[in-house]
Symmetry: C2
């Protein structure tokens, strides 16, 4: 019924991921993506309404891919301490397997122009964040964290700390050391003890 596409959406987003990992969100321009896959700029604008839409899609695809596996790990383990350790380890392992996409996540949605996103895109972002927040809150409750500081501590242990372990390596573009998974797991366990 129509001419088959030579450049599909995922191919363009893959190029955008590579550009962002190498040069930050600012390097993700419509022309750079077009040039990276050898497409004319018209093809890029055919799939994305504009640069904000492209940035939103590349951010959301990446963060949703990560969250899917992360939530599966946290929900798949009934014991909260073991769930926390597995989650921490998962963050590092996922970053090792997907270094370019992990480098993206070290930035924030704001760096990807969240202020210019459409309502649908911001809603998708909020929805994903809400699911993670709910799961972490449930885990914090199971761990007996009642006051705000204790809940913040669980958040640090589950989310921020494993990201810290990988941050310096990803930013430098070097591979993660072999012991990174166990380091993150031990640190998380130490915070929850």
């Amino acid at each position: 019924m129509a001419r088959p596409p030579r450049f599909d959406t995922d191919q363009l987003l893959d190029a955008a991921v590579a550009l962002a990992a190498a040069g930050g969100p600012a390097a993700v321009t419509m022309s750079a993506v077009a040039q990276a896959v050898g497409a004319p700029s018209g093809s890029v604008y055919h799939r994305f309404a504009g640069r904000p839409a492209l940035l939103a899609e590349v951010w959301l695809r990446t963060v949703e891919r990560f969250q899917r596996g992360y939530l599966a790990v946290l929900d798949g383990e009934p014991d909260p301490h073991r769930a926390a350790r597995a989650g921490s380890r998962y963050v590092v392992a996922w970053s090792r397997e997907n270094p370019r996409e992990a480098a993206l996540l070290l930035y924030g949605a704001a760096d990807f122009g969240r202020a210019d996103w459409s309502g649908e895109h911001t809603a998708r972002a909020d929805s994903g964040n809400g699911r993670v927040f709910a799961t972490v809150s449930g885990l914090a409750l199971a761990l007996g964290a009642t006051d705000e500081q204790a809940r913040d501590r669980v958040t640090v242990a589950l989310v921020d700390l494993p990201l810290s372990v990988v941050r310096r390596h990803l930013r430098a573009g070097t591979v993660l050391p072999p012991h990174a998974e166990s380091l993150a797991e031990e640190c998380t366990a130490a915070l929850l003890a």
Copy 2:
């Protein structure tokens, strides 16, 4: 001997800090800085050789201001455990007092165009990082960290973890909760126990 300056270097750098805190490194353009202080673009180019030089100066001034106090705290306390706790607390307290400059430090030198810096600027950056690295290494030794994983754990406890505590609040532009200092201190202590 000459006409007195209406716009001095620190004034321009202050404007650059505000712009970076609000919109990231990409928002720090020569014209934006000029417009922020009401100066013509010529005045900005009179003080900075170009955009890379401006970005280098704003990054280095900020990171050096932070490191000065941080190293003083770490070196001022002979007991390594107490030094670590004090350092962790200092990171949070400094961020509370200097939210815009702290928001800068959440980015990396690479985001401020380190690749385009002059030799002098990269040398300054390396020198500061080297001093911090030396101090943290000395502290790790005093804490009995022998293998690489143990030393990484000290680095996480001293540097990455307190930064994680403040990251989400700074990125969101909200004030740090009152218990942030003690949260960071307790987490650091837990990792070093």
